[in-house]
């Protein structure tokens, strides 16, 4: 298998690495889930009325919990085909901060442990790859199965071809029926048991949360509609039903059917699940539909059901950043970050500009406002998280510690130039994967229940791999003094709603909403360049608008006459893969009032925090392996965070 792996990394592969994930998420009381009680601060005008009972004081989380909701292991057939050998227990050990040996034999450890993890292996063909590898009888009984097994046994070039054929067959719906690992079979049952047992074994309430989960991998002719399904529940409930698949007749490619399965699960087990969509950028215009989906008009039922089951969107990950696209946001100088816009997942159909509106988070939030005007419910009122979608069982999102998209992309001197996937003349460049991202959750404690509930209320934000602390509150009465209180969060909760919430009804006399926003740099990361607030709204004619406001920035820079802020500069020395925090700020905080507010127009606001430039993973590769990379390879990055929006609805 080592040979197979090596070959895979060396060869052009004619297939697409699918992203499927099961996730375990873990959180720890001790590593950040503590609760601050506001018993010891003087807050000036912030706290308005004290309750009679001196003990009835409001609790709120004082640190976000960090995790990955989307990680694959060798149980995922594509991960296995690309050489992954680590399994869910390894993935948890790694996330908890232990050193492990990667599938390519390299020792690896996180700079800091994660608080939670969702191992999200593909529900389709769950457990198939280990069976193929061992030559299970049912595999050998099938002509293709025997051929693939023998190719993998042969290793080298043959092994590469097998991996490519397997993934290609799945993404075009041509996987042999007899080989499918289907729910109801003993293989499937025992694989699902293994996944659940791994989560139960790693779950350590108060310290690390291991969530049970899987990825539902809908690919409509190569168009990505994937969702991670994660459970609030323990094994006793999760075991009662096997995961839902995307292959008919047992499964379906239509998200509507996944939502039915989720409802059935909750009805049968009295449990709770939620779904997180990802990679709209590879959906070719079908991730966030406005008029119809799967031949059916978008109606009341669709919008209500989607809003019910999908509180979050995975806005950034290894296969591209999905916040904004420069075509849709020509006035946003930071919109073109980690953009992947060649085509759909397997590059079988090329991208057209008219597809983009239905693929990116910002335009989806706008579409959601329009649908709410029309149908009464906003199907795209989602919060933001990032995750890796790594297929290596290693949740790595840091530039200096990036273990790639799949095991073929683990550190080696040529990974930047070997296409991640190639179809005909089209390819995903080897350097294009992003070392991204994390899910930050404002949960009270590090348990399945507490994190899941925070996700349901969307009190989350996404980062591209940095661990900056970001607060974002909206209300009607924040004033500039609130940015100077010693516990900004206390004022935030007292006078407003946190990220993910709806603004309360405007009090009499209020003219515009106000926002308290603050960010603290990652203790080992780059300083902060600026905080922006992004507003989206729909006018009376139904036209969609957006505007990006710089609201706080470093180094006393002055905006020019057009309101544009000069660049923060760049201290990166690419050759040594270093930078200095001599520019930027460690902390930024401000109160901002919407200057263009119209009481009659529904709107959303979210914060985007941008770091100063730092070396990209390619720069660390170039230094470590002593290679010269061509001009076209980006060598710096500007890490960022996206908060969940706060919504305004006219009354």
């Amino acid at each position: 298998m080592k040979r197979l792996f090596n070959r895979i990394t060396q060869q052009t592969v004619i297939a697409v690495a699918l992203c499927l994930t099961l996730g375990f998420s873990q959180t720890a009381f001790s590593s950040g889930g503590g609760i601050v009680t506001d018993d010891e601060t003087s807050l000036g005008g912030a706290a308005r009325t004290q309750p009679y009972s001196p003990y009835a004081q409001r609790n709120f989380p004082n640190l976000p919990l960090w995790g990955d909701t989307h990680l694959h292991t060798a149980i995922s057939f594509d991960a296995g085909a690309f050489g992954a050998r680590l399994l869910p227990p390894d993935a948890y050990r790694f996330a908890k901060g232990e050193e492990v040996v990667s599938s390519t034999g390299q020792p690896v450890k996180l700079s800091r442990p994660l608080d939670f993890l969702v191992v999200a292996d593909h529900s389709d063909n769950m457990g198939f790859f280990p069976k193929l590898q061992e030559g299970a009888p049912y595999v050998m009984a099938n002509e293709k199965g025997r051929k693939w097994h023998e190719m993998i046994e042969a290793g080298g070039q043959e092994g590469v071809k097998a991996a490519a054929e397997i993934i290609g067959a799945f993404s075009q719906g041509k996987f042999p029926e007899d080989l499918q690992a289907l729910p109801g079979s003993s293989i499937y049952r025992s694989t699902w048991d293994d996944i659940i047992n791994a989560a139960e074994g790693a779950n350590d309430p108060g310290h690390f949360t291991a969530f049970i989960g899987y990825e539902w991998t809908s690919l409509v002719k190569g168009n990505n509609l994937h969702r991670v399904v994660m459970y609030r529940d323990d094994a006793d409930r999760a075991r009662l039903m096997e995961p839902y698949t995307a292959t008919p007749p047992l499964g379906s490619q239509n998200p509507v059917d996944l939502w039915k399965w989720m409802a059935a699960y909750e009805k049968k087990t009295a449990g709770q699940v939620l779904a997180i969509a990802h990679n709209g950028n590879l959906s070719n215009g079908i991730m966030f539909p406005e008029s119809e989906a799967f031949g059916k008009k978008i109606g009341k039922e669709y919008v209500e059901t989607r809003a019910r089951w999908e509180p979050l969107y995975e806005v950034t990950q290894i296969k591209g950043d999905g916040e904004a696209h420069p075509f849709l946001s020509p006035n946003d100088e930071f919109a073109d970050y980690g953009t992947w816009a060649i085509g759909n997942l397997d590059l079988s159909v090329l991208k057209k500009n008219e597809m983009l509106r239905f693929e990116y988070a910002r335009s989806a939030l706008q579409t959601g406002l329009r649908l709410e005007d029309k149908l009464g419910t906003n199907p795209y009122q989602f919060g933001m998280i990032g995750s890796t979608d790594s297929h290596t069982a290693l949740a790595t999102a840091e530039e200096d510690n990036f273990f790639g998209k799949h095991s073929g992309g683990e550190p080696n001197k040529d990974r930047y130039k070997h296409p991640m996937a190639k179809i005909g003349d089209l390819e995903y460049k080897g350097y294009s994967p992003l070392a991204s991202g994390w899910a930050a959750v404002w949960a009270e404690e590090n348990t399945r229940a507490s994190i899941f509930d925070a996700m349901q209320r969307k009190e989350t934000y996404a980062t591209t791999g940095s661990r900056m602390i970001v607060r974002f509150f909206g209300g009607w009465e924040f004033d500039s003094k609130d940015a100077n209180t010693r516990l900004p969060a206390k004022v935030g909760y007292a006078k407003g709603v946190p990220m993910g919430g709806n603004l309360s009804v405007a009090p009499k006399g209020a003219v515009a909403p106000t926002f308290l926003v603050a960010a603290l740099k990652d203790s080992i990361g780059g300083n902060l360049d600026r905080i922006q607030i992004i507003k989206g709204w729909v006018d009376a004619q139904g036209k969609m608008h957006e505007k990006v406001y710089d609201v706080a920035w470093s180094d006393n820079r002055k905006q020019n006459a057009n309101g544009k802020l000069p660049s923060v500069g760049n201290t990166v020395d690419v050759a040594s893969a270093t930078w200095t925090n001599t520019i930027g700020a460690t902390e930024l905080i401000t109160v901002w009032k919407d200057p263009d507010f119209d009481m009659k127009e529904n709107a959303f606001y979210y914060a985007r925090v941008i770091e100063i430039p730092t070396p990209r993973w390619t720069a660390y590769d170039a230094k470590y392996f002593e290679v010269n990379m061509p001009e076209e390879v980006p060598m710096t990055t500007t890490e960022r965070a996206y908060t969940s929006p706060i919504w305004y609805k006219p009354t």
Binding site: S30, S31, G34, E134, L182, P249, L250, L520, S523, I524
Partner: protein
């Protein structure tokens, strides 16, 4: 196929394996797979066909038609006939897949050996002592701090810090500690944090330093990646090994896992001893060349 392996087990001199082997033999003889080699009858049951029909239903979403069922039966018979003939011709010998499959079945048997006994108190205590490092709870501290911002305070920051420290060390000192701090998004109060957790928030140097501070008084100034801090350690719990009674379940499950592994090893070693392993000269020569390099 398993039955043959079980025969080998019974030949094994180690008594407990013999007992287990006999039990397995009994079990398999009761359940009864299709007889092979001893006669030329192939027995197909309704249960066999129902299982095939069930698989069909899952794959296609409809039950097999009567024609489909006939084909399934034919195929099953064909498989059995060819399988037996292959055994007669010795095609199972030196086949990598057959070999791997059978060795997997043996591994599976290993796993289930020696799984019955519950550890005694003495065994668990001994195991806990031997593996103390795996069960030790790391050191943890609880502390409060005051933060001084270098951007707003500039060069005088350490002077201010020392002055503030003197005030705080006065026994009649300040009660509202937070009001002395500059604004920060960090919390002011931390409970039961491990060294690496503090390090991930404030940086390594800060974390190392505060773990060496005395408990119960204001100390500083101490630098972090964000600025300068005065720190009050409320409690410092040393690393400790919990009583067995508090972690019995974890210790017991690790003990069992270890026991399984050891039993499997012993079993394998006893099997290995029955073979003479012959490595051909080329292998030995190559290994020596490799070692020299």
């Amino acid at each position: 196929m398993i039955k043959i392996n079980v025969y080998k087990l019974i030949r094994e001199p180690l008594l407990h394996f013999l007992v287990i082997g006999a039990a397995l033999f009994f079990l398999f003889s009761q359940v009864g797979g299709p007889e092979i080699e001893t006669d030329n009858r192939i027995v197909i049951t309704q249960a066999d066909l129902d299982r095939l029909a069930d698989v069909w239903l899952r794959r296609t979403g409809r039950p097999p038609s009567s024609q489909d069922r006939e084909r399934q039966l034919d195929q099953l018979i064909r498989d059995q006939v060819l399988y037996r003939e292959a055994l007669v011709m010795g095609l199972d010998k030196d086949d990598v897949i057959v070999r791997r499959r059978l060795s997997q079945k043996m591994e599976y048997l290993f796993k289930n050996l020696g799984s019955v006994t519950e550890p005694t108190e003495t065994e668990l205590n001994a195991f806990l002592a031997e593996n103390a490092s795996k069960f030790t709870i790391p050191a943890k501290i609880s502390f409060r701090h005051i933060y001084l911002n270098p951007d707003s305070r500039g060069q005088g920051i350490y002077v201010s810090a020392r002055k503030l420290l003197t005030q705080l060390q006065d026994p009649a000192g300040v009660t509202d500690v937070v009001s002395k701090s500059d604004r920060t998004l960090l919390a002011y109060d931390y409970s039961e944090k491990k060294e690496n957790e503090i390090a991930s928030l404030f940086g390594d140097a800060f974390s190392k330093q505060i773990f060496s501070l005395p408990v119960g008084s204001w100390q500083g100034p101490i630098d972090s990646v964000y600025g300068v801090h005065l720190v009050y350690i409320k409690s410092h719990n040393m690393p400790r090994l919990p009583q067995l009674s508090l972690i019995r379940e974890r210790v017991s499950s690790k003990w069992k896992a270890e026991k399984h592994r050891k039993t499997g090893d012993v079993f394998y070693q006893s099997l290995l001893q029955r073979y003479e392993i012959v490595l051909d000269d080329n292998i030995i020569n190559n290994a020596m060349v490799g070692a020299e390099q």
